[in-house]
């Protein structure tokens, strides 16, 4: 038991669970406060139960399908941000990479009819990876060769991508509605998930996302390539000294981060569920969710699978909260508190470590 608890991984997981616990408690207090102050919001216990089950108490299997569908994009943007973190970069540009990739996928899935329909979705995914990667690469190149802080360049690129996509809608616009794109012709296969969950929500995207997470894990932790990228992130000069092309490393890190977000976009915009682009100038929230997901998952791809699922569950609970007279900001507050509480994990791990050691010396 002691040895088990002494493992850093175990301590990290315990710390994460504790953060979630604090977040839930705080959320519950918020529910109570609201129920005392607002006539309509009278069912705090129900609401809490709803959140806890991700709304599945009401939505059942179909809701589960929706949650699965929520996981894939933020799992990928989370990986994107986490991957960059691991290589010493802060990719706040997941949002722009996400829409750029998503739009590319939609474009290909609508326009490239010269490709057989059964392969079109694959080409669309690849296109999204490519274009997302290019957007990320711009930040990477600017950082590597012109020393431009990647935070600011990716903030700018977020807006540029958003505006560009908004303006490009006319290229694949819906004949009946000039502000939207058409629905894509090709979609990611559902693999029968639509039958299982009784609605067109979950598709193969979830498997793609998880597979990519595993791949990123292997690349980062087990390969020479990951070793190089992390070296560039931790100490650019030492990487150079070791004969690693640091500029290439930084550029590639951001490119991969961008590609991941781009793929995330594709998983939404050519998914079984129909999400179309409209011309509204709003930054894609999935990109910012990615930051939360990465932080909660401690930038570890396996942790990110978990944190993306968790945040998707909370998100899934949102609409059902109306049943108890609440709105989804309660869930957002909880998410915020959980992330904040995860800041305590360092201290917590130290305390836990000390506790274990003390027990160790006694016996």
């Amino acid at each position: 038991m002691k040895a088990f608890l002494a493992k850093p991984t175990v301590q990290k997981i315990v710390a994460a669970l504790l953060s979630i616990f604090f977040g839930l408690i705080f959320g519950f207090l918020i529910l109570l406060v609201a129920s005392l102050l607002r006539e309509k919001a009278s069912y705090p216990f129900d609401a809490f139960y709803t959140i806890f089950t991700g709304g599945l108490r009401y939505t059942g299997l179909r809701g589960f399908g929706i949650i699965l569908r929520f996981i894939s994009p933020i799992l990928l943007t989370g990986l994107s941000v986490g991957f960059a973190f691991k290589t010493g970069l802060f990719n706040i540009g997941a949002s722009g990479q996400f829409v750029a990739g998503g739009f590319t996928a939609a474009y290909i899935a609508i326009k490239w009819t010269f490709i057989p329909l059964e392969y079109l979705w694959i080409v669309a995914l690849l296109g999204a990876v490519l274009v997302g990667g290019i957007v990320g690469m711009i930040s990477g190149l600017l950082k590597a060769y012109r020393n431009v802080n990647e935070v600011i360049s990716s903030i700018m690129l977020n807006y540029i991508a958003m505006i560009t996509v908004s303006n490009l809608i006319s290229v694949i616009k819906d004949a009946n509605n000039p502000s939207r794109t058409q629905p894509p012709l090709a979609r990611i296969p559902t693999l029968g998930l639509d039958k299982i969950f009784g609605s067109n929500t979950a598709d193969m995207g979830i498997f793609i996302a998880i597979a990519v997470a595993l791949l990123i894990y292997v690349v980062l932790e087990k390969t020479t390539f990951g070793y190089e990228l992390k070296a560039c992130g931790y100490n650019r000069n030492a990487a150079r000294y070791a004969g690693i092309n640091d500029r290439l490393g930084i550029t590639l890190s951001m490119t991969i981060a961008g590609a991941l977000s781009g793929l995330g976009g594709a998983l939404v915009y050519i998914s079984a569920i129909t999400k179309v682009f409209d011309s509204l100038l709003v930054l894609a929230p999935e990109g910012f969710d990615g930051i939360s997901v990465a932080l909660l998952g401690m930038s570890n791809p396996l942790g990110i699978i978990f944190s993306a699922s968790f945040i998707a569950i909370l998100k899934g609970a949102g609409p059902s909260l109306a049943r108890s007279g609440f709105n989804d900001e309660v869930v957002k507050i909880m998410t915020a508190v959980i992330i904040y509480a995860s800041a305590f994990s360092l201290i917590f791990r130290e305390k836990l470590g000390a506790l274990i050691n003390r027990k160790g010396t006694k016996s």
């Binding site: 607002r38 600017l142 802080n149 360049s153 700018m156 807006y159 930051i291 932080l295 915020a336 201290i347």
Partner: protein, 321 residues
């Protein structure tokens, strides 16, 4: 409109963008100069603006409009400061990754506004309507000065002057006072500061709290002139302020110039309807991306030396050398 009028229009209208950006970026500057990266500026702006607006919402007519606005500004400032304590505690006492609490605060503020607004508005909605009686049509006497009067003393909000005062005070504090010297030392080399008896953590608290105060204030400064209903968003201005801070190389004057540059570009982006610009026949799209693209381009040629505070972003560890 002739070129001069167009120019006047551009300059006059960049003020509402540049003043809040300057204030908030200066806040970020104090935090980063003390060694704490504050990506929570966006959230703190929202939070500060919320409480400022709540005050105006509940007590719009207790005092004359300008006094009411001043009180609201003070409330925004204090609430921003209090809120930023959370960031300070996590980053300083808990030595947490500074992105974590920053992100958490950003999320929290947005949701918390909605939550509070629902509690206080009769229809339980997110938007809080307020009486906007704060515009100064013309400052007596000063408003009659040609050009300058039109530019700075007509159709203004006191927040404009506030922003300029804050800029001057901030430069002075940073460079001319003991506090400023010590604060900068903590952001560059906290071990050095510690070794000469400066309480690093205390200075960092001060830095974060100032950033909270200014961001909270900046939130309200941004919101008041642009609408009569506040829905709990500052549309990414906190992040833009972060960009302005970096663009401005963490120095007050350059921050001001960066904010002015960005403000000007924003106005141009939204002035594509002026005949001067329509005559150019350039697609609206290019106007829209102008602020972001030009910033990127300028950065490409000005970033070779980064003046980022050396220790910003790293928790202070006295044992580290």
């Amino acid at each position: 409109m002739n070129i001069l009028d167009t120019l006047f229009f551009l300059v006059k209208n960049m003020i509402p963008y540049m003043i809040p950006l300057t204030i908030v970026a200066l806040g970020g500057m104090f935090s980063e100069r003390s060694g704490i990266v504050n990506i929570a500026l966006e959230g703190i702006m929202v939070f500060g603006a919320s409480f400022g607006i709540f005050y105006i919402y509940f007590l719009p007519n207790l005092f004359p409009p300008q006094i009411t606005l001043l009180i609201a500004l003070v409330i925004a400032l204090i609430s921003g400061m209090v809120f930023s304590l959370l960031h300070a505690y996590a980053s300083i006492n808990l030595k947490a990754n500074q992105t974590i609490s920053g992100t958490a605060l950003n999320l929290f503020a947005l949701a918390f506004h909605d939550f509070m607004a629902r509690l206080i508005t009769p229809n339980a909605v997110e938007g809080v309507r307020f009486e906007n009686a704060f515009r100064i049509v013309k400052v007596p006497l000063l408003g009659d000065i040609p050009l300058i009067g039109d530019l700075l003393f007509k159709d203004v909000y006191i927040t404009t002057y506030l922003g300029i005062v804050i800029l001057i005070v901030a430069s002075f504090v940073l460079y001319k006072t003991r506090f400023g010297l010590r604060l900068r030392a903590c952001g560059e080399h906290p071990q050095a500061a510690d070794s000469v008896g400066i309480k690093v953590n205390r200075m960092r608290y001060a830095g974060v709290l100032i950033s909270g105060a200014l961001a909270g204030l900046g939130g309200l400064v941004l919101v008041v002139p642009s609408t009569v209903e506040y829905t709990g968003t500052v549309s990414g201005y906190g992040f833009l302020a972060l960009a302005v801070l970096i663009f401005g190389q963490w120095k007050p004057t350059k921050i001001f110039l960066a904010a002015a540059f960005f403000g000007l570009m924003q106005v141009i982006a939204n002035s594509s309807g002026l005949s001067f610009f329509t005559a150019l026949g350039i697609n609206k799209y290019f106007y829209q991306i102008v602020p972001f693209l030009t910033t990127l381009i300028v950065l490409t040629f000005t970033s070779s030396k980064s003046a980022a505070p050396k220790a910003a972003g790293e928790p202070y560890d006295p044992g580290k050398r």
